[in-house]
């Protein structure tokens, strides 16, 4: 496998194709979007209906990876879809990260959407090329196209004993008509999709090549650090840069909005200069503290909403006439994204143009937001997309790019803006904290008859995901949500809403099962059967898929059979149309939690890359476990109290379960999301195991601070 290390713009890409001797640029969906200039610039022989793949006469096949790669594996898995339908040897393709270009549609890394939304269109782009290669061969040999087949980069006419390579056919294929009714491969014929394919960038990652935004080095660039507000609710009043400018290597100090930037010839000088600034911050709005949030949440939990998110039957009446009411309040803290690669962006804003390169999950939003911030037209802005050191939702915001662009504009120089970890901890768009009050009505027949959730979270008026299971399975079901407005920035964090709600919901279901003296797994299946045989209102989940993963994980984990000293907890949850059931196996030694093994059964439709998919689920589980176990952000007067990894705890090797066994339901259903759905169930699976071991229900995260 060869790698092209740099971002290549589409126009540049077309040029390269020409330079290598014509060839074809093939694709499918956006014929109209190949700009005439691009085609003209590229030269006559290039056929460029879209931008996903090219074959040159030497047989070099280049596949474009359209979406940002943040660790979710799409730089490998999306090109795999092209390769499958094109029918080529994966080991011989060149994969290139696309830059931002309308030709690639929506280039977003978010919502576990890349494979979900591109599975069919990208396969069609690959299949289109294959059809045209066949047409070119058939014409060359003067045989019917139907008699031709393809294999690993060759078109074959078996009856005539002929074959031509894709490279040999490239130039001629460019003049073939674009086929209309394309038939995609039958999944039984897949040679690449569903196989274990390694991360396309392994070699470069493991030899330290400059893949990431932070590695950007450009002529005349200044390493730049920023003084940012020390608390939410503070704004810049004034600054004195006399001492900062005395640091050797510091070249300039500029104000850009609410921050002061120090430009230097190396990072250390920029940091020392930044630290030497005397900045005066003034109060701009309320300086909030975590204790106040909790007080407000607690009040909200007692308030019935005028307008429920969902209401089936009459949950209040069910509670009023219940034989027994089970009530519990769950709570989750704020947590940070803390992607391993600290926030950075390269910007070169000059002469009404902006050249941007840096970590983002939303390059299109970067372009439009920078255009607005600078008052320049979008067509004068280029956005390159490096490999990124984690996203987790943090880079769905464009603040880093806008800040770098404003600094570059103010300094009239190219800058690579870099935040310290402390800047990141204070400048995040955090996973909101929240509280969840559940009440369950148990009727005379010892059945769950009613369910009432009042949920509240920071800056979110949809803390309850009202369509969640067991909605549809119960005669009386209601959820209310209250949002608490705050100037502390919050935003999507891997599996937004679900990452908190699943803990509360799946723990509470476990509580009910224990109260009813039912096996927690059997109890879930029973409720799902209710939803199937006697649905109440809309049922938003796929009952069979849900049952498929519950049954599989029970089998994998030998649910119901316990080894002495080991305890199991179960949870199942669906998000992004994917169903995941997990069993955590733990022990408690002298009050200390140890997670020995986690079992996960996943129904995400067709798995594209088995190695990548397994890695995603294993990682999501350990990620979710780590945050549920250790991580908590608190605020005092608008200032974050956990400023780096010495006080903000993340999971390390010693606490990660040595084994995470993942199995996927074998199916050719269209793929659903996978970057996020493995995460939500784990906190409850472990919490439920802690209950099995100790008889104590931990209702507040993180476990580590709330277990004694």
């Amino acid at each position: 496998m060869k790698q092209v290390p740099t971002n290549i713009s589409r126009r540049h890409f077309l040029k390269i194709s020409t330079l290598t001797g014509g060839g074809i640029l093939l694709g499918f969906e956006l014929l109209a979007n190949a700009t005439p200039e691009a085609i003209a610039e590229a030269g006559a022989p290039v056929f460029a209906p879209n931008a996903y793949l090219s074959i040159d006469p030497q047989g070099i096949v280049t596949l474009m990876a359209p979406n940002p790669e943040i660790g979710q594996g799409v730089k490998t898995s999306l090109p795999m879809l092209l390769a499958e339908e094109l029918d080529i040897d994966w080991n011989k393709v060149v994969v290139t990260q696309a830059t931002l270009d309308k030709a690639y549609g929506n280039q977003v890394a978010g919502g576990s959407s890349s494979i979900r939304t591109r599975y069919e269109p990208i396969r069609k782009a690959g299949a289109t090329a294959r059809y045209m290669l066949i047409a070119a061969a058939a014409q060359t040999w003067n045989v019917p196209e139907q008699e031709c087949t393809t294999e690993n980069g060759w078109v074959l006419h078996k009856a005539g004993g002929k074959k031509l390579s894709y490279g040999e056919l490239a130039t001629k294929s460019a003049s073939m008509p674009v086929p209309e009714n394309i038939k995609l491969k039958d999944p039984k014929d897949f040679k690449i999709i569903g196989k274990r394919i390694k991360n396309i960038d392994n070699k470069q990652i493991l030899t330290g090549k400059p893949l990431f935004g932070i590695d950007t080095r450009r002529e005349g660039m200044f390493y730049t650090m920023v003084a940012r507000p020390p608390a939410f609710g503070k704004k810049l009043k004034s600054f004195d840069d006399t001492d900062a400018r005395k640091i050797p290597g510091v070249k300039n100090v500029v104000q850009a909005g609410n921050v002061v930037a120090v430009l230097a010839t190396n990072t250390w000088a920029a940091k020392k200069g930044r630290d030497a600034l005397k900045v005066v911050w003034e109060d701009d709005s309320k300086l909030e503290s975590t204790a106040e949030h909790r007080e407000a949440f607690t009040n909200f939990l007692q308030q019935k909403s005028e307008k429920p998110d969902r209401s089936d039957g009459d949950a209040e009446q069910s509670l009023a006439k219940a034989k027994k009411v089970i009530e519990a309040i769950y709570e989750v803290p704020i947590i940070a994204h803390a992607p391993m690669e600290p926030i950075n962006f390269f910007a070169d804003v000059r002469d009404g143009k902006a050249d941007l390169y840096g970590p983002t999950q939303v390059p299109g939003k970067v372009r439009s937001d920078v255009a607005k911030a600078l008052g320049i037209a979008e067509e004068n802005i280029t956005v390159g997309i490096p490999r990124q050191g984690g996203g987790f939702g943090r880079k769905l915001r464009s603040d880093n790019a806008v800040e770098a662009a404003l600094i570059s504009a103010a300094a009239k120089a190219p800058v690579q803006m870099l935040w310290t970890r402390e800047d990141d901890m204070q400048g995040d768009f955090y996973r909101p904290n929240g509280m969840y009050r559940y009440r369950a009505a148990i009727n005379e027949n010892n059945e769950l008859d009613g369910w009432y959730l009042i949920a509240t979270a920071l800056n979110s008026n949809r803390a309850a995901s009202s369509e969640n299971f067991p909605a549809g399975a119960l005669a009386n079901y209601r959820t209310d949500s209250h949002g608490l407005n705050s100037n502390i920035q919050t935003g999507p964090w891997r599996a937004p809403t679900h990452n908190a709600l699943a803990f509360a919901e799946q723990s509470f279901l476990d509580e009910i099962a224990h109260e009813l003296k039912k096996d927690p797994v059997a109890f879930r299946l029973e409720l799902l059967d209710h939803a199937k045989s006697n649905p109440v209102g809309k049922v938003s989940y796929d009952i069979e898929k849900f049952k498929s993963v519950i049954n599989l994980v029970s089998k994998m984990s030998n649910w119901g059979k316990n080894t002495p000293g080991r305890y199991k907890g179960f949870a199942a949850y669906y998000s992004f149309s994917t169903y995941v059931a997990e069993v955590a196996e733990i022990s408690m030694v002298n009050g200390k939690l140890k997670v020995h093994k986690v079992y996960a059964a996943v129904n995400c439709g067709q798995v594209v890359n088995m190695s990548g998919a397994e890695n995603q689920v294993q990682g999501a589980i350990v990620d979710g476990l780590g945050h549920a176990w250790f991580s908590e952000i608190t605020f005092d007067k608008g200032a974050v109290q956990q400023k780096n990894f010495n006080s903000y705890k993340l999971i390390h090797m010693q606490d990660a379960p040595p084994e995470v066994e993942v199995q996927f339901i074998a199916t050719n259903d269209a793929p659903t999301g996978l970057g996020e759905p493995g995460l939500p169930p784990i906190a409850a699976a472990v919490g439920n195991a802690i209950f099995a071991a100790t008889g104590k229900r931990v209702r507040k995260l993180p476990f580590n601070n709330n277990m004694s």
Partner: protein, 172 residues
């Protein structure tokens, strides 16, 4: 500003930097060896791990003035062709997700295997304190064991042999 002579990946460099500059920023900004990563700046995450002689150090908190004649090895200098047994093991186990921390993880593993050629799970727990935010720990553990097997069998890619150290003035 002060001048320092360094041996990095068997090459000699002279750099002119502030004496308190952490080795990390000398590697990244002066020598353009960007494989060593910045993560926290306080020696907590290990993204900046390099070898000083045979020991893993966290270069973000190691001032260049303290390096002296000790030999520094970064991920770029681990092998000529990216085929050091630890690199091979990482590829075979297909460890990386985002990949940002993995150079540090690899360097920490190289140092571990020099001290303990047959690490147990407990040894790995104690030595591998680098943070992986993607939480690839299951595969990292597997890859450490795999690297130990490869190193001990001695049939797979050897670490690069040191070529004669060349004088090389960094340009920047």
């Amino acid at each position: 500003m002060a001048s320092y002579s360094l041996t990095v990946n068997n090459k000699k460099y002279t750099v002119d930097v502030l004496p308190d500059t952490p080795l990390l920023w000398v590697l990244r900004d002066e020598l353009n060896l960007v494989g060593t990563k910045f993560g926290c700046g306080i020696a907590q995450c290990g993204a900046c791990t390099v070898l000083m002689n045979d020991n893993a150090i966290r270069s973000c908190s190691y001032p260049v003035s303290a390096v002296g004649i000790n030999k520094i090895t970064t991920i770029e200098g681990l092998s000529e062709n990216g085929d050091h047994p630890v690199q091979q093991a990482w590829d075979e186990a297909d460890v990386p997700q985002c990949g940002y921390c993995q150079a540090g993880q690899v360097m920490a593993t190289v140092a571990l295997l020099k001290r303990k050629p047959h690490p147990t799970d407990e040894d790995i727990n104690a030595a591998m304190t680098n943070i992986c935010r993607c939480a690839t720990y299951v595969r990292i553990r597997k890859a450490v064991h795999l690297a130990a097997e490869k190193t001990n069998s001695g049939t797979n890619g050897k670490p690069s042999t040191s070529s004669a150290a060349k004088d090389h003035k960094a340009t920047f």
